[in-house]
């Protein structure tokens, strides 16, 4: 099946599905239990590049530095210069790829840190701590100023240095 044909089919499929829900459920096993978005609050940690889903809270690079030294330095090295695990802050004059210099949206740093770090205790950081660590990483890579506050409003507006380098290979997007 060609991609075009597949997409057309998918679109009509999607149209047919919408509004199915309980009406068509008689023909289906119907063994899923309804759940409210409120009940999914702890699970739904998705954050879009536009900042949708970012929680309340805030932090600065200075606050992040203290948390970093306590919870991150053992793997990522002093001041983010790399160690057993990835370098997070690029030393001046070196061109090594770091997360902050590479990813197109600052929200990705917040999202990944919140869901996966610190490695031994993922999801243990408070939202303030994640904002502060994100600010620490962004400021260390000279992407934001040392005193800039990162929160749900400011984080999605950060202009990432590599933002325009990405080209989607998937035909449906853009």
């Amino acid at each position: 099946m060609s991609m075009r044909r597949r997409l057309t089919l998918a679109a009509s499929f999607a149209a047919a599905f919408y509004g199915a829900g309980t009406a068509a459920a008689a023909d289906l096993p119907g063994l899923g239990k309804p759940v409210s978005e409120a009940d999914l609050a702890l699970w739904d940690m998705s954050i879009g590049p536009d900042g949708k889903g970012l929680p309340p809270g805030s932090g600065t690079a200075a606050q992040g530095a203290a948390i970093y030294a306590q919870k991150c330095e053992a793997c990522h090295g002093k001041e983010g210069q790399g160690g057993k695990n990835a370098m997070l802050i690029n030393p001046p004059g070196k061109s090594d790829r770091t997360m902050a210099l590479y990813v197109p949206h600052a929200t990705t740093i917040f999202d990944f840190t919140r869901r996966a770090m610190p490695f031994p205790e993922p999801k243990s950081l408070s939202n303030d701590e994640v904002y502060a660590l994100t600010a620490f990483i962004l400021a260390g890579n000279k992407i934001i100023g040392e005193s800039e506050v990162m929160n749900a409003e400011s984080l999605p507006k950060v202009k990432m240095p590599n933002r325009d380098a990405f080209v989607s290979r998937y035909p449906e997007k853009r």
Binding site: R6, A14, L28, K33, F112, A116, F166
Partner: protein
């Protein structure tokens, strides 16, 4: 043509230089041996002096107890995955499938390749939940027992890491075997529930164009996947080769998006959220994006495109003197079925068509075979595959014309490029020892 070949009389079954034979020789109708006898090659097959055969000790005693769960023979202890993180240090673990020691197309569950960000979680199947929410009419939560009652389908599909074969992007040919270069690829029979069946129950908001799939593992690995793929052939897989999914493969359930890069087949799947735009997760921005000429970075490169490589013979599998061998390997495409595999023994100057083991399935590994009479001279073996969509496996120069030339050498476990499907070349010297070359 070498002077050696010019001196030899052409063989009845020769289809390409350096001893590649017509694939019909594999049909077992005596063509090969009739032809071989005519030129004297193959005399070792019939001329070896047999010795009187003893009755072996195992034929004179009862065998061992049949265990509840069988494992391979003790003599096969070297048929194992290679591990990059055997002590489970705080980093990604890779385990590679030993394709040079396997045959057929199905990967045993214990040898399926693994890329795991933080080991594998110990999930209690009775407590595991799958949630589908976001841009749906009715968010639903399913437990394993409920999912097991849904209509299921069984399909054979390969899963390949987007970074498989990455060492082929080194400036110089890395000296490594099939397992090290191509081991992040496996193929299983998967059984589960179509994702479209479950989406029919939740309903789909027309604004939904993508979905986010997330695992229940510690790092909550997540990927954005086009909704079109979900409605096409995506599956919530519950069984792998007939048994419950292996813990390192996502027990008790994983997403299967046939033909798409491995990382999107989210393991330990517990949440699907329908969304309008990709979330730009770490695994679709920092990882699984590819720096190419431009300079630019390719993102959302999903299908694993047509590829093949020879598994036997290959580095580490030394030929035992001139005579008959079968060249065998794997071919596959994330875009459909394999249409044709050609094999060369002279570095791509001449080609013969390989036989394909039936059935040839869409987005599954296909085993190809080529009969070969090695005359003891140096050779360069290559394979090249075509898929039913008309895609052809690229040469190195064809690929690098688009992506740019590799400029550095990286460790064999590194990922300097993704979606590397160029032709692989194995060169044998006159001793029959193979090494990896660029040809």
């Amino acid at each position: 043509m070498t002077s050696k070949q010019e001196k030899s009389a052409p063989h009845l079954l020769d289809v390409a230089a350096n001893g590649l034979l017509d694939r019909r020789a594999l049909l077992g109708r005596g063509m090969l041996f009739a032809g071989a006898a005519a030129t004297g090659v193959g005399s070792s097959l019939t001329g070896a002096a047999a010795e009187p055969l003893p009755v072996d000790p195992w034929s004179k005693e009862p065998g061992a107890v049949i265990p509840p769960y069988g494992v391979p023979a003790k003599y096969e202890s070297k048929v194992v995955r290679t591990l990059t993180n055997p002590n489970n240090e705080p980093r990604t673990s890779n385990a590679r499938t030993p394709h040079h020691l396997l045959d057929g197309t199905i990967t045993p569950n214990g040898l399926h390749f693994v890329v795991a960000r933080a080991g594998f979680p110990d999930i209690d199947p009775s407590k595991h939940r799958l949630v589908i929410h976001g841009l749906v009419k009715q968010p639903l939560v399913f437990d394993l027992e409920a999912l097991s009652r849904y209509p299921k389908v069984t399909r054979i599909n390969f899963v390949e890491c987007g970074g498989n074969s990455a060492p082929l992007f080194n400036k110089d040919p890395v000296q490594a075997n099939v397992q090290a270069i191509h081991g992040l690829l496996s193929c299983s029979e998967w059984t589960g529930v179509r994702l479209s069946t479950l989406l029919e129950e939740t309903g789909i908001d027309p604004r939904a164009k993508w979905l986010l799939a997330e695992g229940a593992d510690g790092p909550s690995m997540n990927r954005s996947i086009p909704l079109a793929k979900a409605l096409d052939d995506a599956m919530i897989a519950l069984y792998q080769n007939g048994e419950r999914i292996n813990p390192a493969q996502g027990y008790p359930m994983r997403l299967l998006v046939p033909g798409y890069e491995g990382n999107m087949n989210v393991k330990w799947l517990h949440r699907i959220k329908l969304i309008e735009e990709p979330v730009m997760a770490i695994n679709e921005t920092l990882q699984y994006t590819y720096r190419v000429a431009g300079p630019k970075i390719w993102q959302f490169f999903f299908p694993m495109e047509v590829k093949s490589f020879i598994t036997q013979p290959s580095p580490g599998l030394t030929l035992k003197g001139p005579g008959f061998y079968e060249i065998s390997g794997l071919a596959y495409s994330g875009n459909g079925r394999i249409a044709k595999v050609m094999v060369s023994a002279d570095g791509g100057k001449s080609w013969g068509q390989a036989a394909l083991d039936a059935p040839v399935l869409s987005k599954a590994l296909t085993r190809f075979r080529m009969p070969w009479r090695w005359d003891g001279q140096p050779v360069v073996l290559q394979s090249r595959a075509w898929d039913e969509a008309g895609n052809v496996q690229p040469t190195r120069s064809e690929m690098f014309a688009e992506r740019g030339e590799p400029k550095v050498n990286t460790p064999v476990t590194a990922f300097p490029m993704g979606h590397m499907n160029v032709i692989t070349s194995w060169a044998a010297d006159s001793k029959g020892e193979f090494k990896h070359v660029y040809a």
